[in-house]
């Protein structure tokens, strides 16, 4: 149809007016508006104003360019950029944390060539992607100020040439004269190292290799020698057991291979609507352990009674099995009898372990497992563990005959510190050719004549065989920071083999590992793939096992005799999770890591139960009474810490403290108790002194005597139920006030105010309290990932630790044998966050993805947010902990060197340029005076989103993992997008009946949710629901 033009006045008149008005309104159409190409390049119609603008701009630009001094940038670009290094992008390399026999397969994150984080290697069949605190913290050791930067002779810096000449000539002379040469090492699980030692021995035939574990497993090894003819540790399958009985073995905290065991253990403990079975775990122990705290049932006994309990259980099982019983222990415990019943019922799928280092006790344990038919089901000999190989007898004989040793080479151990008579041993080192292969300053290096500075494992090539036929690799992730050399290489040099260690290792792999495996056809494939994966599974070795349970009666008698000298008060020496045997007691991350059980940091203390009030500390002032402990001829003083669950009549002290030589005096708190190893710790004297001392505890016990006056039954912090109740009702105990949580959300969770909208992602985290064992690996991982400051003992005592993620610990029930629940507590990223609305400058605010975010450079530090946070997860930089202040620290230190008060805070070397190489460049380092807190690894979320964007894909669930999630050995933490209804997190949040939020009733709408803890309780366990939440 033809278009007709209608008009209502004189044609064109109005149009013209309108056009004119438009033009006037917008004035001259500038090139910016009309499109620069048209107006300038095509018509070249430069107006007067444009000309002036351009003139102005060019004159100003020229002036600025000509007159301003360009800042001098000191960064040096790569001349040849390595192909794989893209600035700003992280590279990951597999490696293995090996410390003595302690093994964790890791994935090392490097940024611009610097390793900055160790995460679990998901491809490892042993540690299965889990981590423990020490493995995470090991990266910090690389940049430790305690590291030897050069080889040393007689305490003076030297050169490798001088060391090689001196050592080679002296060794040749000693060997020539038939003098005894000893290589004393921790447990060596590296096949190539063993070969290097063998080559060294070939060159020096008088050399012998002795392996020494500071915390000895000799008893277990000897027992296996005795009962199976094989001095090794079997392959424990905690995932295959339906009933686990542990006599003091902290198998998820410190015992043999805690990461592996924790990962296995939890496989059989996770419940879901589909799987409603879980293993049952009973722990008989004296000192409360991390493992014991996770047990469904804990039977506290005194240290000597741990032995009696084993005899009791042996007899009970033997009776049922129709076998000969052994000597009567004379110890009776009703609970233990019931345990024997349970064990017998679960025979063939139970697992009994003991943490004892007594051969006889371990023989009895083997006997119990044998009678129960556990060998072949839960305890396998297919791939025995090599993680502990130390031999107490050999070490004892060495120490006794140090006079005859002409040369001693020491690696991966610190005998001067960790031997019972270390001081004497140290003296002996001065009288012989003592060579210490050391990475960081310690007592033994201090006493040794030659210190052959070794590489950190992240600078090193290496391999490890933690379990027979499963070989892991180490590869350097950074070139050597200092003039150091791996000890294997030193041994080779001194043995006259001048092959670099990596080539030597490669050759060894070609000759020995290659034939052991069938996966790869060529050695190149084997090498490249194994280095990439971090692990190769070779054929299982063929082992001859000769079971022999003949003299159990003698073992029992002998075991009983071992405790004959016990007195009224016993002392237990134990390992702290995170500190272990003390080899890492110069690592500030580990020192500041609150112990999962006591929540204390930086030092050791005397632990006792809560039965005797005279030892109680003042919970508010952190003043702990100091006691004097006399053990045989030795005596020491320590503050007393009362830990619920420790039986009466005993005390416990942790190994690993009281170091005397390390980079910083701050690392040397506490008392070294290794010197008590030869004393009778079963009969000690403990007397309170009048002194008190503070302890850096991050969580103090409080009796929650007030339970509310007819209000809510309890604080809705943790929720727990029993397996039976869960089977009946999956929402069991998941209540808020009078309502079930589901009803409560429907009926009570109402608001007048509009909430946030989340158009894109909505991040949520779910933490399964049933899976969390409280090992605190996540705490260290968070510290490492997020540049969380170490504040030092004094600041922790003043309750100023900076951890973004902490593990809260709650007890219920009987004070003398409480149930423990661990709860990782981090910023809950509330959708209705109390912190956000009180910040006067909006420094903390809500992202469109549900993350409560902090703008550090906007924060002025009023701390109102921290006060208003119901979860108390916000941390304030009271001092310039990270040396990130607007004020230069140099100014403080240089001008006020002598005035302690005006000097900057001593932060234990964490502010030094070397240590700061560890800083994660993706995370802002916070200055003094600002609040910080968990960001839900915002940098990882961002990286994950960008990666997906770059790949042109929709972000996959699980592509973004937080640092804590990655470190968790038990997969307790899930993180994901709630808006993606297919994500694990969304499914859990929407459908799992165990989901709850902490103190939801105050309507914070947390994005971090928890899942009810389920305990596999039987009636006799006297379970109490947490309305009786007694103390925290």
């Amino acid at each position: 149809m033809k278009e007709t033009k209608y008009w209502k006045g004189l044609p064109g008149t109005e149009d013209q007016i309108a056009n004119q008005t438009d033009n006037n309104e917008f004035g001259e159409i500038t090139p910016e508006l009309s499109g620069i190409t048209e107006s300038i390049s095509t018509t070249a119609n430069t107006g007067r104003r444009d000309f002036l603008k351009m003139l102005g701009f060019s004159v100003t630009a020229a002036t600025i360019a000509a007159s301003c001094k360009m800042p001098v940038k000191k960064s040096i670009p790569y001349v040849f950029k390595p192909e794989e290094i893209i600035p700003g992008m992280a590279n990951y390399y597999s490696s293995a944390y090996v410390n003595g026999g302690d093994f964790v397969s890791v994935l090392v994150k490097t940024r611009e060539g610097r390793p900055i984080l160790a995460e679990g290697n998901k491809m490892s069949t042993i540690t299965q992607g889990g981590m423990h605190a020490q493995a995470v913290a090991s990266v910090l050791n690389l940049y430790s100020l305690g590291r030897f930067q050069k080889p040393m002779i007689d305490g003076k810096a030297s050169t490798w040439k001088a060391v090689d000449t001196k050592v080679s000539t002296e060794l040749a002379a000693i060997s020539g004269a038939g003098g005894r040469i000893v290589i004393l090492t921790g447990t060596i699980i590296s096949p190539t190292t063993k070969k290097a030692i063998a080559d060294f021995k070939t060159k020096y035939p008088t050399a012998e290799h002795i392996q020494y574990d500071a915390i000895s497993y000799s008893g277990l090894l000897d027992a296996n020698q005795k009962t199976f003819g094989l001095r090794a540790i079997p392959n424990y399958r905690f995932d295959a057991a339906s009933l686990i009985l542990s006599f003091g073995a902290d198998f998820m905290g410190t015992w043999i291979s805690p990461v592996e065991f924790a990962a296995d253990y939890i496989k059989n403990r996770k419940v879901s609507p589909e799987v409603t079975t879980m293993s049952r775990h009973i722990q008989v122990e004296s000192m409360t352990t991390l493992t014991g705290s996770n047990a469904d049932k804990k039977i506290p006994v005194k240290p000597s009674d741990e032995v009696n309990a084993v005899i009791n259980v042996y007899n009970a099982i033997a009776t049922k099995a129709g076998q000969a019983t052994v000597v009567n222990s004379g110890f009776s415990n009703k609970d233990l009898d019931a345990v024997a019943e349970e064990l017998w019922a679960a025979r063939g799928k139970s697992l009994v372990v003991s943490g004892s280092n007594n051969t006889d006790v371990q023989c009895l344990i083997n006997g119990i497992n044998n009678m129960l038919g556990n060998y072949g089901t839960t305890i396998l000999w297919d791939r025995p563990s090599y993680q502990k190989q130390g031999d107490d007898k050999a070490v004892a004989s060495l120490v006794a005959n140090m006079g005859s040793v002409k040369a001693i080479l020491m690696a991966e151990c610190n005998p001067v510190y960790s031997l019972a008579d270390g001081a004497k041993f140290g003296e002996a080192l001065g009288k012989t050719l003592s060579i210490y292969f050391g990475e960081r300053k310690n007592e033994t290096a201090d006493k040794s004549k030659v210190v052959a500075a070794t590489n950190h494992y992240l600078e090193n090539w290496g391999d490890a065989e933690p379990k027979a036929g499963i070989i892991a690799t180490q590869q350097p992730t950074i070139s050597r920071l200092f003039d150091t050399r791996s000890y294997q290489e030193s041994l080779l040099v001194w043995a006259g083999i001048n092959t670099p260690y990596d080539e030597y290792m490669r050759a060894n792999w070609d000759s020995t590992i290659m034939p052991m495996q069938t996966k790869y056809n060529t050695s190149l494939l084997l090498w490249d793939n194994t280095i990439h994966d971090g692990e190769i599974i070779c054929n299982a070795p063929v082992l001859t096992i000769t079971p022999n349970f003949a003299d159990m009666a003698a073992c029992a008698t002998s075991a009983k005799n071992s405790i004959a000298s016990r007195g009224a008060i016993e002392l237990k020496l134990y390992e702290k999770v995170g500190i272990g045997n003390g080899s890492n007691t110069d690592n500030p991350w580990l020192l500041e890591l609150p112990d999962p059980l006591t929540k204390c940091t930086w030092e050791n203390y005397l632990v006792t139960g809560v039965s005797d009030e005279k030892f109680f500390h003042n919970p508010d002032h952190k003043e702990f009474k100091i006691a004097q402990v006399t053990v045989g001829s030795k005596s020491f003083k320590l503050p007393v810490y009362c830990l619920p669950g420790v039986p009466a009549g005993m005390f416990a002290v942790a190994y690993g403290f009281g170091r005397t030589v390390s980079a910083n005096k701050e690392f040397q708190y506490g008392v070294n108790v290794y010197n008590l190893l030869k004393e009778n710790t079963l009969n000690v004297k403990v007397e309170l002194t009048n002194e008190v001392a503070p302890l850096g505890c991050t969580q103090i016990h409080h009796l929650l005597t007030h339970k509310g006056l007819g209000g809510y039954k309890t604080r809705h912090i943790i929720k727990e139920t029993t397996l039976d109740a869960y089977k009946k009702d999956q929402a069991s105990e998941n209540v808020i006030g009078e309502h079930s949580r589901k009803d409560w959300i429907k009926e009570e969770l109402v608001t007048l105010y509009p909430g946030h909208t989340y158009p894109g992602h909505h991040w949520k985290m779910v933490i399964d309290l049933n899976s969390c064992i409280g090992c605190a690996a996540c705490v260290v991982a968070c510290t490492a990932e997020n540049n969380v400051s170490v504040v030092g003992r004094d600041q922790v005592i003043r309750a100023r630790e900076m951890h973004w993620l902490r593990i809260d610990k709650y007890y219920t029930g009987d004070q003398n044998n409480p149930q423990v629940t661990f709860q990782p507590m981090l910023c809950q990223h509330c959708d209705n966050a109390p912190c956000e609305n009180v910040c006067p400058v909006a420094a903390t605010n809500h992202s469109t993805e549900g993350i409560n975010q902090m703008a550090y450079n906007r924060c002025i530090g009023t701390r109102y947010c921290a006060n208003n946070c119901p979860y108390k997860v916000r941390r304030f930089n009271w001092y310039d902990y990270a040396d990130a202040d607007s004020f230069d620290k140099k100014y403080y230190t240089e001008n006020f060197e002598n005035i302690k008060e005006l000097k900057g805070l001593d932060t234990i070397g964490m502010q030094e340029p070397l240590t700061r190489m560890l800083i994660n460049p993706d995370v802002t380092v916070r200055s003094r005076g600002v609040i910080e807190k968990c960001s839900m690894c915002a940098q990882r979320v961002q990286a994950g989103k960008l990666e997906a964007k770059r790949a042109g894909e929709v972000l996959k669930d699980g592509a973004i993992r937080t640092a804590c999630q990655n470190a968790c050995p038990t997969n307790a933490i899930q993180f994901g997008d709630y808006n993606n209804k297919e994500s694990v997190v969304a499914k859990l949040v929407d459908h799992d009946e165990r989901i709850f939020g902490v103190i939801e009733e105050i309507h914070t709408l947390p994005n971090v949710l928890y899942m009810t803890k389920v305990r596999n309780k039987q009636k006799i366990d006297d379970f109490s629901f947490p309305e009786n939440l007694l103390f925290s």
């Binding site: 309890t714 910040c839 208003n868 119901p870 003094r928």
Partner: protein, 491 residues
């Protein structure tokens, strides 16, 4: 103002021989000549303390807030306690000058000048804390909504701390204006008595060239009324907003709707106590018993016992509501407040604030200088503890028992507090030495009706009619005052 007053009503200006000239003399004398020894000792002490306070401030900024005793659980303690305490003290000044002016309370004239000065100095001391409690005080300007180049970055108007900024700055400004405008005629009086040229010049500048014309007086009166009108709502709003710092939070023990009236009553309570303390010292040092009489003390003590009782009721109400709420956290907060590790603070608060002022029901004690002074100190202590109890006991044990903690102050905490007291007294002593501590013009305005001499004349009918008619025709009291003032100045 000098309307008819019953002769049996107690005189507010004592002294057998008091007259207009003597009033000027008695008050202005203190700014002239050498200061009394007592003043010098007090000033030396106060300024030394103030210097220590300044050092503590410097030290805090130099090292970080870590020099205080705060920790991860208790993020505010003495800082905000001191802030609220000082702000509360600052309340009395405005109340006396504005509210009592509007209510035509004559007795306020003897004390209003000093009370207003006290307000100014107390607000200065109070203001130090919110500023210096910031972790990054050098970024303090972020709290102002100023135009900036940071795009949409703006202050958070939801935050009570921001409301504080406006409330306190407004309050300070209005109080300062009120105080200063009242000072102008008195400065002129000092100027007119001045013997040296320099002194004359300084006071002339300070008086803004006041000459006392009728027009000036008329404007002066209007301004006073306008400022009184402006200040009156501020008396209520400032402390209400300060209480919002707590009331709008989620912390059990803070999250209470009773806070605004309770804080205002508490503020008046503590402010009057502080005025009482200061007046008793001032009248002693400067020999002003004729102008700050026991009648004044009694009036103030009446206010103290009233507000103290209101505060007491508030305390008990809180406990009852906690019980009635059925809300565990609230219940625990109050249980812990009264019986927890800080029970000593709670007991101090209860004793000083609720129990001790009750003795003021006895007239004898109300009129006793000694007891007034003693109890004013008690109330000051008690009100400090009230804020401490509210802030620290609520924070130290809130929702998650895992984070419970204890707060112990450091020497810097104490130093800052004592230091602000030093700053306060330094300023006050300087004020008392250089400014007329009693509003000369205002006191004169009630002379004809409330002075002892005037009253004694009232008993004589002739004299009475004389005085009465004299003041009656002066449409407004201050006119009469200036009239006399001018006369006496000329004498």
């Amino acid at each position: 103002m000098s309307t008819y007053e019953s002769p049996i009503r107690e005189a507010l200006i004592k002294g057998e021989d008091t007259n207009y000239s003597k009033i000027t003399d008695d008050i202005v004398r203190n700014t002239e000549g050498t200061p009394p020894m007592a003043w010098m000792i007090a000033f030396a002490l106060a300024s030394a303390t103030a210097l220590f306070g300044v050092f503590c401030l410097f030290y805090t900024v130099w090292k970080g807030i870590g020099v205080w005793g705060l920790n991860k659980t208790v993020d505010w303690a003495w800082d905000i306690t001191n802030f609220v305490w000082w702000i509360g003290i600052g309340h009395a000044g405005t109340l006396i000058s504005a509210v009592l002016l509007l209510f035509r309370q004559k007795w306020r004239t003897g004390i209003n000048r000093a009370a207003e000065a006290m307000t100014i100095f107390a607000v200065i001391c109070a203001g130090l804390f919110p500023i210096f409690h910031m972790g990054r005080v050098w970024m303090a300007f972020f709290i102002f909504p100023y135009p900036n180049t940071r795009g949409p970055l703006w202050v958070n108007f939801n935050s009570p701390l921001l409301w504080d900024v406006f409330a306190i700055s407004t309050y300070f400004t209005v109080s300062l204006l009120f105080w200063y405008s009242g000072l102008m005629p008195d400065f002129a009086t000092i100027r007119d008595r001045a013997k040296t040229a320099r002194r004359k010049m300084i006071y002339n500048i300070l008086s803004f060239g006041w000459v006392g014309t009728a027009k000036q007086w008329q404007r002066f009166e209007s301004l006073s009324l306008v400022l009184a009108g402006l200040s009156t709502p501020l008396v209520l709003s400032v402390h209400t907003i300060v209480s919002f710092d707590f009331a709008t939070s989620v912390v059990p023990g803070w999250h209470t709707t009773i806070f605004p009236p309770y804080f205002v009553a508490g503020a008046i309570f503590s402010g009057f106590a502080m005025v009482q303390t200061l007046m008793l010292i001032t009248r002693k040092i400067f020999n002003l018993q004729n102008y700050i009489t026991t009648a004044h003390l009694e009036s103030m003590n009446k206010v103290i016992v009233l507000t103290g009782s209101i505060v007491g009721v508030a305390y008990i109400t809180e406990l009852v509501i906690a019980w009635y709420s059925g809300y565990l956290y609230e219940q625990y907060a109050f249980y812990n407040r009264a019986l927890g590790p800080y029970k000593w603070a709670y007991i101090s608060m209860m004793t000083c604030n609720v129990i001790s002022p009750q003795v003021f029901w006895f007239k004898k004690i109300r009129r006793s200088v000694f007891y007034s002074f003693l109890l004013s100190i008690f109330v000051n202590i008690g009100m400090w503890f009230e804020r401490f109890v509210i802030i620290v006991t609520s924070l130290h044990r809130d929702f998650l028992p895992s984070s419970w903690n204890y707060f112990t102050p450091t020497w810097v905490d104490a130093g800052l507090y004592v230091g602000t007291i030093g700053i306060f007294f330094t300023l006050f002593l300087l004020f008392a030495r250089t400014f007329p501590v009693i509003a000369i013009a205002e006191v004169k305005s009630i002379f004809s009706s409330s002075a002892e001499t005037a009253k004694s004349k009232m008993s004589d009918p002739q004299d009475f009619s004389d005085v009465h008619s004299h003041s009656h025709d002066s449409g407004h009291g201050a006119h009469a005052a200036v009239h006399h003032d001018k006369n006496f100045n000329e004498q």
